[in-house]
Symmetry: C2
Subunit: 236 residues, 2 copies
């Protein structure tokens, strides 16, 4: 199987990232240093970095260096949240964790997170508010093994996004996600928390989030109240 040099370099760099050699938010070695380290020309390293930058794994800053993308960076606090106010105005987004407990993996959760049915899983409930208004109710499932010690208090302490906490406290970096959307009728907790009548239409967003090596580490079921907000997507 033929693989060009720059992809092999990329693979090596991905492993370095996965192994934590370069921490989120910090700069990686300069292109010329990497070229020497890997024994290739600078242009080849550059092409590897190009691809990783296109995938939002690295961020280039001219004159300063190349940095490992981080959910701690305010610029990417809610990087995966595609919900936007209809009028386009900026809102203050705040995450309100409601509960955090251990449950047994159901069929779906086990399949998605590559666990056995009944394996311990952490379930986090949380509410997302835009300017105080409750807009998203999330149920978040995490493999217990990798998030040992996660508590409601820990989540509440932080003013940052969830992924930011996962990154800082558990060394777990979320790099990619898949979302599946459908319209459903409101029921149960979502009704109360989002203050909408039973049966009223909600946008159900199911998300699988992956870390390095395409390993799924989070499954999320979010109910979005799309009265004054919409899910935005660009196609090309």
């Amino acid at each position: 199987m033929f693989s060009p040099l720059y992809r092999q370099i990329k693979e090596l760099m991905m492993r370095a990232l996965g192994a934590g050699e370069w921490a989120p938010g910090t700069s990686i070695p300069s292109e010329s240093e990497l070229a020497i380290r890997f024994g290739v020309s600078q242009g080849t390293v550059r092409k590897a970095i190009d691809e990783m930058a296109a995938e939002n794994l690295l961020v280039r800053r001219q004159g300063k260096g190349t940095f490992v993308a981080s959910h701690n960076d305010p610029r990417s606090f809610y990087r995966f949240l595609r919900l936007t106010p209809d009028d386009g105005s900026a809102r203050q987004t705040r995450s309100e964790p409601l509960s955090c407990r251990m449950v047994a993996a159901t069929d779906t959760v086990a399949r998605v997170l590559q666990l056995q049915v009944g394996d311990p899983v952490i379930l986090v409930e949380r509410l997302l508010r835009f300017d105080g208004e409750p807009v998203v109710y999330d149920e978040i499932f995490l493999s217990a093994e990798q998030f040992q010690g996660l508590t409601l208090d820990l989540l509440k302490e932080s003013e940052r996004s969830l992924y930011s906490v996962f990154e800082s406290e558990f060394g777990m970096r979320m790099i990619r996600a898949e979302e599946r959307l459908r319209a459903v009728g409101a029921e149960g907790r979502a009704c109360e928390l989002l203050a909408v009548p039973e049966g009223s239409p909600l946008l159900l967003v199911e998300r699988v989030t992956y870390t390095y090596g395409d390993k799924p580490v989070e499954w999320r079921r979010g109910c979005y109240a799309t009265g004054n907000y919409h899910y935005f997507n660009e196609l090309s």
Copy 2:
């Protein structure tokens, strides 16, 4: 305002595309020919093409050449349709045009398509079926000026996608779109055509589609029945 050479080349090539110098589905000149034509090195042309290929405007095929992306290509018949069966199986997708008539632009349509309120607009109604099952009901608004002569018969004749007809018959190439999604209760025609009860949740997808030069040429309101299907999106 500084702009690197390869972006200027890209701009020239975009104009050539917009002017119809290179038709969809055909190959553009080779990199070396373009390098001579624009008086730059091959590497610079290459970088311009790289960006355009990343935006799905061009398609490279090693050994053959670089081709202008086309909606006539079966590989991109429903390029912008993100609805997928829950079980992942392939379905036969068929577009069933229902009506095609002239209407006056409402506020929203005028704003989105950059027209005056009351300007003539073509409204197409159509149903999308997956393996015969009605799944999407679309209302499609097109600036009448640019789609003169569009008739229901013309749409019915074609076994291809709408954008394919637009491209072949009107020289209008859809290259990019923005979608805004929300959950709504079913009402009116959508109820009957999708065979769902009044008020049942539907995914409302509003799409603005652009041609070269970021010119909006289509506004679409689609009601998606997401009982056995979901809207799929990748985040990174």
